[in-house]
Subunit: 233 residues, 2 copies
Amino acid sequence: MIDISALFKISYGMYIVTSGNREQNNGFISNSVFQVTASPIQFAVCCNKDNYTSEFISTFKSFSISVLKQDASADIIGLFGYMSGRYKNKLLDCKVEYSETNVPMVLSDSLAILECKLIRTVDVGSHLMFVGEVINSKLLDDTEPLTYAYYRNVKKGKAPKNAPTFVDEKKLNENIRDKTMSDVYKCPVCGYEHNVAEGDPKSGIDPNTPWNDVSEEYTCPLCGAGKEDFYKL
Amino acid sequence: MIDISALFKISYGMYIVTSGNREQNNGFISNSVFQVTASPIQFAVCCNKDNYTSEFISTFKSFSISVLKQDASADIIGLFGYMSGRYKNKLLDCKVEYSETNVPMVLSDSLAILECKLIRTVDVGSHLMFVGEVINSKLLDDTEPLTYAYYRNVKKGKAPKNAPTFVDEKKLNENIRDKTMSDVYKCPVCGYEHNVAEGDPKSGIDPNTPWNDVSEEYTCPLCGAGKEDFYKL
């Protein structure tokens, strides 16, 4: 029997992983970044095959890892964690540094950066595991890194849909949902709660618009998940 | 340029990874344990090729992960992290549970256990990366897990020699050592400090025995590293 709560006890940091060059690039939030050998210093990063950054790493044969600060803003986590680079240039407004491989290394909200040359790619099913040798690294700020535990417990964040640690809360909550609770619909990807009484005026949804009358095209204002993914609290 | 201090900002947990069956088994302390896919739930573990447990995982095709509690004892970390199972049955005095694959899952000082069936082995140089599917998991105690940051900062622990995150402090300190400091010799593996004035009576070394007179067979009382590895503080 698999008890999902046991998996919550695994510790991770939170990182922005990017790939590409000065012209074309993308990045995403990853919590599965880890050192695999000490000599040479090699790191592995897991990336969903559907993730746009996977294509960049496979093409450009390099990637960078930015270690997020504990006080990293929700904006940068929203930008890199919940939006697709297919529709938005995520690195446009970030402070970025380039080095040997021309991979953009994000400095914004980060306390350390690592530049890696791709050594091998391992297919592990839904994800690709990219193993890279660290060719450059720099400490930017000697403060505490953001950990996934801190993000979950203090910042109340959730794993994005493509993360190896994603938990389908929609399924998880299906049987325990109290149908008599207030008229609130929750995004299972990022945790955003849509309150019918308040509506979502920024997305053109007036207060008190019944959920059934909200367009099927409606997407979560925080992470872009579709209306069909929301569940009633 | 590689700045090692940047690598210290990567977050890890601390685990006992075991393999084998009821008769033959071994385990070691690992900090490189991480989820690689969510569906199915797969975990990867890096293990030095010289590590005795590597042989067991390759032979028995299964392994277990015990998530250490934040207050795990120095004894269990010393036992699984700094001693070789070639000379000692590490699991003899531990509380252990068996399940489907008969791999021993250590319950002592642990708050969660995962049982994994080996799916693939990836050679990453000095280490093997074992990817396994979680077939059973259990939460034992809903408290804080031990993180590597906590182990380093609060418990003042070091990475064992075979860990992917091992830093050769002997080399690191070679140039900055102050030769005028007290007569103390430090073990680069576990951080134990041998003070000449105090000696190491338990190992038969009287107080004030000059370091040169200490037998070349002397090994660190904590981790078993050889005398030749010690360096002068």
